[in-house]
Structure formats: C-alpha cells, structure tokens
C-alpha cells in the first residue's frame, strides 16, 4: 500500500524536475534567439516566454516524469489496480492543469515586435531563401529595415538585382519593386525562422504537436475524454517494465511506448487519417480521432500486460536467484 501511495508523489516530484528542465530549455532557446537578433531580453519577458511555451511541452514533461516513476515501480509496484488508478488520475490532473490552466495567463509573445531572424546587424548578412538563392542584406541599425538588398537572378541572364530597401519578417524578406511599387515576399529557407535557428528533432515536434492538439480542444466533454484516453495510454505502458528478464530492454520498451504517443497522435491527425475517417460510417469528431487511437492502443497494451506479463515476475526471479 505504501508503494501505491508513494507512486503519485514520485510522479509529481519527477514532473517538477522536468518542468524546471523544460523551463530552462525554453529560456535558453529564447535567450539564444534574442541574442541572434542582437536584442536584449528582460527577465519578465523571459518568464513570459517560458509560460507561453509550457502548455505545448506538458505531454513531454508528463511522459518523462511517468517514465522515471515506472522505473522506480519496477521492483515493488504496490497494489496493482490502485497504483494504476492513482497514477492515471494524477497523469490526468497534471495534463489538465498544464494544458488548461497555463493558457489562461497566456498572451502575445513579448518578442514578436522587436525580433527578426537576422543576427547582429553590423555589416552585411546572408540568409538563404527557399528558392535556394542567398541574397546579401545590408541592414539598418535595428537589423530589421534594410538599406541594400542584392539578389542573384538567373533568368533570362545571370545578373544581380538591386533593391534599395527592404524589411524582414520572422519568416520572409519583403522587398518593394521599384517599378510599380509592388511588394515582393521571399520566404527564408526552412530552419531560419525566428526561434528555430536549427533543425528540430521529431521527438520534440511530435510531443509539441500533441500538446498543441490538447490546447486547441474546445468543449468540456471532448477535452476530458481526450485527456482521459491519453492518460490511460500512458499509464498502460507501465506493465512493459516487467516484460522480460532483461532489464535494459524493459526500460527501453517503456521509453519507446511513451514516445510513441506523439507518433500515434501525428499519424492519426494527418490528412490521410481524415480521409480514412470519411470512409467509415461513424460520426466521430476529427479532433478526437488521435486520442481514440491512443485509447485503443492503451487497451492493447493493458491486455498484453494482464494476459502475458506476470505482475510478480521480478519478485519470483529474485527468489529463484
């Protein structure tokens, strides 16, 4: 019983550790992005950016916290049903709090108005465009209003096109066509957008997409169902910490299954899933489809656990040894 009661407490403790680490990570990313643009950043703005970013990272924090809790529960899991229910309840509550309470103090980013993708604006800068061209931008003092832009063009002949002025947005270069005053917008190459100077890892983006999906859900019942199904899937991974005699494999299996939550969400929120849903004679809300898939996966995991993995395997093994 002691282990059953301690499990949610350990879960909350681990979540707090990862909350701190994720806040630190967001802070570093924000400060690096602000530094890249040559602008300073206040502490209040930094904190605001952390708070704004947190809801998206909630599923990641919960998954990592749950992973460490499951590792701790591998030897003594307490009363099976109660531990499962307690953990499920706390996972649900943390997910609810992370995705619904924090957005209430959300607001616009305090960086949007002053930041651009450009680095310190002394001298010239080169930022690749999506078309594969690399223009030269000679910037103003604020790194935003440009004084000289040169773009090499190949059609009809190779030559340099000069623009006397231009501006930048977080994702594009905006130039004024001297002849008719028309604006030309040229998107920067992927990976150069503000706050995203380097390529992103699928691990992070999948979990962030899942977090954003939870934040975007409206309606009380739908939200509670989605959170319940996700919590059920995550806690159902617990049984796999006992799946074999090889501890390392068990650890990695649980980690993989927790990481799969992001992938399952990604697959079932894609256009392909939407098209497949149209073929079914069911009237399911599209936004809930990924969570229903997670719930169904959770049922499978739970069945494998109940039918094939003895709960007291580790104890028996140690007694045998």
């Amino acid at each position: 019983m002691k282990n059953t009661l301690l499990a949610p407490l350990f879960f909350l403790f681990f979540c707090l550790i990862f909350l701190f680490l994720v806040c630190f990570f967001i802070g570093m990313e924000t400060a690096a992005a602000a530094g890249q643009a040559g602008a300073g950043i206040s502490v209040s703005c930094l904190v605001r950016q952390m708070v704004i970013g947190l809801p998206s990272y909630t599923p990641l924090i919960v998954s990592l916290g749950l992973f460490l809790t499951i590792v701790r529960l591998r030897k003594r899991g307490g009363i099976r049903v109660l531990t499962f229910l307690f953990l499920g309840l706390f996972v649900f509550l943390v997910l609810l709090g992370g995705t619904r309470l924090i957005p209430r103090i959300n607001g616009d980013s305090c960086l949007d108005e002053t930041q651009t993708i450009l680095w310190r604006s002394e001298g010239i800068q080169r930022v690749p465009l999506q078309e594969g061209l690399i223009p030269i931008l000679a910037g103003g003092d604020d790194g935003r209003d440009l004084e000289e832009v040169l773009i090499p063009l190949t059609d009809p002949e190779f030559r340099l096109r000069y623009f006397p002025s231009g501006t930048t947005s977080p994702t594009a270069l905006v130039l004024s066509n001297g002849r008719d005053g028309r604006e030309i917008t040229l998107s920067f190459a992927k990976g150069y957008a503000f706050g995203n100077p380097e390529r992103e890892q699928p691990f992070l983006t999948d979990f962030r997409d899942l977090g954003d999906g939870l934040v975007s859900l409206t309606g009380g019942l739908g939200l509670l169902t989605a959170l319940g199904l996700l919590s059920f899937y995550l806690v159902s991974c617990w049984g796999f910490i006992r799946i074999s005699r090889w501890n390392l494999f068990n650890l990695f299996s649980v980690f993989l299954l927790l990481r799969l939550s992001g992938s399952i969400y990604k697959v079932f929120s894609s256009d392909l899933a939407e098209e497949a849903l149209d073929l079914l004679p069911l009237d399911l809300p599209l936004s809930l489809l990924p969570f229903l898939a997670l719930g169904a996966s959770g049922v499978i995991l739970l069945l494998v656990d109940l039918l094939f993995i003895p709960y007291n395997r580790r104890i028996r093994e140690e007694e045998d040894a």
Binding site: M28, W119, I134, P135, L150, F203, F252, L256
Partner: protein, 589 residues
C-alpha cells in the same frame, strides 16, 4: 575478466559491420536516378553508406557497448565479495578512448570528402542533363556542330553516356563537315617566378655569352624592371638592344629580315608590358615559319610560350571555359568585393556574384567562374553593372595592392581567341557606367580563392565542412555575411564530439551493466526486438544534441566564443566525473 575488452571490441565490431551493411542496403534502396545519374550509382551508394556510418557512429558505438555489457557478461556467483566494476572495465576504457578517436577522425576526414563527392555527382548529373537538353534543342534548330559539342560535354561529365549517345553523335558528325577542334598549345613552359633581379641579370649574361641576344635583352630588361636601382641591368639591356640593331640581316635575305623584325617587335612589346600584342606577334612569326616550311626557331618558341603565360594573366582561352563547363563546382556565390572611395563623390560598394565557381588549378589559386555579375552601388543607386559569361580568378602577384582595399586576386573577364588577333570570344558586357579600376577586363578582388570557396559554405552548410576549414574561416567569413553563430556553434559541437563519444560509452557500459540480463537467457521475442535498440539510442542522442545545441546557442550569445568553449568543457568535465562516479558504484554481483 581479462577478456572483457576483447569481447566488447568484437561485439562493437560486429555491430559496426551490421550497421555499415544496413546503410549500404538502405543506400542501394534509396538511390534516386532522377537526382544522380545511374553511372555514378556505385560511388554514390558507397559514399552514402560511409556518410550514414559516420553520422551514426555514436549510435552504433553506444549500442554495441550497451549490448555487450547488458547481455554478454554474467553475474559473478562466487563466494568472494563483490568486485568493483571499475577494476573490470579499466581496459575497456582504453578501447572507448580509441573509439572516440576513430569516430572523430571519421567525422573530420572521411565524411567531408564523401559529402563533397556526393555534391559533385549531383552537379555533374544536373549539368550533363542540361547539356543533353541543349543538344536536342540545337539539333532541332539545325546547329549540328554546337549540338555535337553539347553531347561531348555530356560525355565528359558522364563517361557512361558514351555508348548511349554514340549513334546520335555519329549522325551529327555525318551532318556537319567540320567540327571546331580544341584549341590551346602545349608550348614549353618557362617560369621566371621567384628569380631576383641579380639572378635575372646573371641569366641574361649567360644568354649573351651563348649568343642568344633576344633572350639576353629580355632578361636584362626584366632584371631592370624588377629592380630599377640595378644600373648594370639597364646598361646591359641598352647595350644588347644596340647589338640587336647592328645585327639587322641583309635586305636581300627577305625571310630572315622579316623574322628578325617580328622577333624584335615581339620582344619589345613584351618588355613594354603588352603581352597580348607580343603573343600575337610571335604567333605571326611562328605561322610565317610554318607557311614557308622552315625549321622551328628557338627564340620564337620560347617567347611564344612566355608571352602566352603573360597573356593568361589578363585573359583566358576557350580551353579554360570548355573544361569549366564539364567540371562540378560551388554554386551561387555572392559577396561584397570592396568599398571604393571616389574623389568628391559618394563611395561605391562593389558586389560580385558567380553562378558557379569551378576549380581550374586550385593548387595555384586558379579558379574559373561561370556566370559573373558585378554591380557597384553608391548612395545614388547603381553606378555600374557588368556581366560576363565566364571569368578566371588568379591570385594577385606579390607586391601589388591598392590603398583602398587589400588586393588578394584578380578576376579576368575577357576570353580571347589564341589564334586570331583581337577576337574576344567571351566579352564582359558593361551595362551601366564604368567601374573605376576596370582595366582591360581585369577586376581586382579583395578575397582569395580560398576565401571564395569557403563562402560556398552557406549553400552547402557548415556541417559539410571539416573542422580545419571551419576554424580557418572563423574570423574571415562573418564579415562577408555568414552567421557567426552557426559557424561557432558547429565548431563547438565538433570540439565536444570526442568527449561526447567517450562519456556516452562509459554511461552505456554503466547502464548496460546495471540493467543486465539476469537469470538465464532472454526470451526469443526479446532478441528479435533487438533491432529497435539502435533507434532508441538514436532517440536519446537526438535529445542530448537538442539540449546541447540550445545550450551552446545560449552561451555563445550571452558570453562569446571563448567563454562558451570554457563553459562547455567544464560541463563535459562534470559529465565525465559523473559518469565515472556511476561506474564506480557498480560491482560484479
């Protein structure tokens, strides 16, 4: 357990082999003929597998160590007390160090070369397909000679196309009567570089003693130009010139008289710094000999070669452009060449763009540019604009320079016909105004060819360059507009990589041992699922590198490069210590 390092080495080696074979299979499966021609398939597959192997070295190594310590060592059941784990793994630590060194070497030596070869293959394919399309269009227009030339260029790029294009080329050959032959001479090469004025004068003396007055005059004059203070050289040049004047052959000996005059005029033009005119004069003299079926003249051969060399300092020949068109290079270069000051006028910022930068004789600093655009801009707008189909980049001769900017090289924009006087084959077109220092198609460059090549980094990405190149260009590239952060972050990541390899191996050994298999063999299903392990390790690495990238970005912007390097190394030392502490806590029970 003395066999421990050997066992770890064998398991890691097996995993490396399996990994490489998997990458080879993956490369064969993912080879895309629409991007790279089938002719390059074998090389592409080999290099792609090598690149994947280098990029996944950390994954394979840590997976191997993890598996070795987790699956292949049994718990001690002896009656003795637990033996500390560090005693068992100390020899393995040497192996980990060796593997860290191997991983770093592969990343710095093998990967950049393979990456460059892959880019070259893709470029050759694109160029060859462009030439093939051009050939079809030219054939349709009835321009058979040009069509045949385009097909030849295709074959030069992709030799495997020869069999496919043979019939088509034969048909084209039959349709045309004559095909322009490749120009360019194989005249003897004469190098005067590096000789002092005194050495040149001594050489002139030798020629005078041998009775070769043309050479004696040329060398003594050159000696005087190298060191105007050397009065002896001036006196000797004057004396030999007088001797030459007295050596005028009889008017009746028309042939000798004509040849003598041509040689004298050519030598004088060369001395006066007019190598193009001198070159055509000596060419005329050579043709004069050939037309009259006369034996080769040593003076004419020597000075034709010499003047040709000097011509190539201010113009290029068609052979240069033909080679450039079938050689892969660096694409889309644009840079600020210089800011020129003008009396009583606003300064001009001169920008130069190359569509392609192609190695010609890179060891001598000679490069070709295909597609050149030059634009000078002042406060009033565009002051001048020049375009040229080709350009040749040569290093600046020593001792030359300009007060307004550091002269590092020359961009030669005119291509001339070596057989026909005055015929400019590839003229530079001045669209607007005229640049202040644009003399006879030669434009001073403020960048070395080495710096130009490094500029291509922003189209290929800093991760494709070796650490040496990145470090060399750390200071020179940011003023040209390349993000200093992306360079510094890549440099720091490379510096930390061997530490990461070593620490990851220690942690993998610790974790593998701590969570090793107990009580018998694992079930078959577990073994089958082993394939998932490298992917999981890769996932762990992705998380680690995401955090590291973010951390490096933060430290670089808040503290600068040196401080970021020190902080990163301290952090690695902390991780190193922690990994050893974890290791020390393990034992064999």
């Amino acid at each position: 357990m003395p066999k421990m390092p050997l066992k770890v080495l064998i398991i890691t080696a097996v995993l490396f082999l399996l990994g490489y074979l998997s990458f080879l299979g993956y490369s064969i499966f993912t080879f895309a003929p629409e991007r790279v021609d089938f002719f390059f398939r074998r090389g592409w597959v080999g290099d792609n597998a090598l690149l994947l192997f280098c990029r996944n070295f950390l994954t394979l190594h840590t997976t191997g160590v993890l598996l070795a310590f987790s699956l292949f060592f049994k718990t001690s059941r002896s009656g003795d007390g637990p033996e500390p784990f560090y005693k068992m793994v100390r020899l393995s630590l040497v192996l980990f160090l060796f593997m860290a060194g191997t991983g770093f070497t592969l990343q710095e030596l093998a990967a950049p070369g393979a990456e460059a070869r892959q880019i070259d293959r893709a470029q050759k394919t694109t160029l060859a397909r462009q030439y093939q399309a051009d050939a079809t269009e030219l054939e349709r227009q009835g321009r058979y000679a040009q069509a045949l030339d385009a097909l030849r260029k295709t074959i030069a790029l992709i030799p495997g196309e020869q069999r496919n294009l043979k019939d088509r080329m034969d048909t084209l050959s039959n349709r045309i009567s004559d095909i322009p032959e490749d120009q360019g001479g194989d005249e003897p090469f004469l190098s005067l570089q590096g000789l002092s004025a005194r050495q040149l004068l001594l050489q002139a003396q030798v020629f005078e003693d041998e009775g070769d007055l043309f050479s004696a005059y040329y060398y003594s004059d050159l000696s005087f130009r190298v060191d105007p203070a050397l009065g002896e050289a001036r006196a000797m040049a004057s004396r030999i010139w007088d001797k030459l004047g007295r050596l005028v052959p009889e008017r009746e000996d028309q042939v000798r008289w004509e040849l003598f005059n041509l040689k004298k005029r050519g030598t004088e033009l060369l001395s006066r710094g007019k190598p193009v005119d001198a070159y055509y004069t000596f060419l005329e003299a050579r043709d004069y000999l050939v037309q009259r079926d006369l034996p080769e003249d040593k003076d004419i051969s020597t000075y034709l070669s010499l003047s040709r060399m000097e011509v190539l300092q201010m113009a290029f020949f068609p052979a240069d452009t033909e080679a450039a068109q079938v050689t892969p290079g660096y694409e889309n270069l644009l840079f600020l060449n210089t800011e020129r000051t003008r009396p009583e006028k606003a300064p001009v910022r001169e920008y130069i763009a190359f569509r392609r930068l192609i190695p010609d004789q890179p060891e001598k600093g000679s490069w070709m540019a295909e597609g050149v655009a030059v634009t000078g801009i002042s406060a009033e707008g565009v002051v001048y604009e020049i375009t040229a189909p080709f350009g040749k980049i040569l290093p600046s001769p020593e001792g030359t320079g300009d007060s307004s900017f550091s002269l590092q090289g020359r961009l030669i924009l005119n291509g001339i016909n070596p057989e026909s006087r005055g015929e400019i084959l590839h003229p530079a077109q001045i669209k607007t105004g005229s640049p202040p220092e644009f003399l006879e198609g030669v434009l001073p460059l403020s960048l070395t060819s080495y710096q130009l090549r490094s500029l291509a980094m922003d189209s290929r990405g800093p991760e494709t360059q070796s650490f040496y190149i990145l470090w060399q260009n750390r200071k020179t590239l940011p003023p040209m507009g390349i993000s200093p952060a992306s360079l510094d972050r890549e440099i720091l990541t490379r510096i930390l990589y061997p530490f990461t390899l070593f620490i990851a191996a220690i942690l993998a050994a610790t974790v593998g041992w701590r969570h090793r298999q107990r009580n018998g063999r694992p079930v078959a299903a577990t073994v089958l699922l082993l394939a998932a392990l490298p992917f999981l390790m890769r996932l762990m690495e992705d998380i680690y590198f995401t955090i590291q990238t973010s951390f490096l970005g933060f430290t670089l912007y808040s503290m600068g490069f040196t401080a970021a390097l020190i902080v990163s190394l301290i952090l690695q030392a902390v991780l190193f210590t922690l990994s050893f502490i974890f290791l020390a806590f393990q034992h064999n029970r």
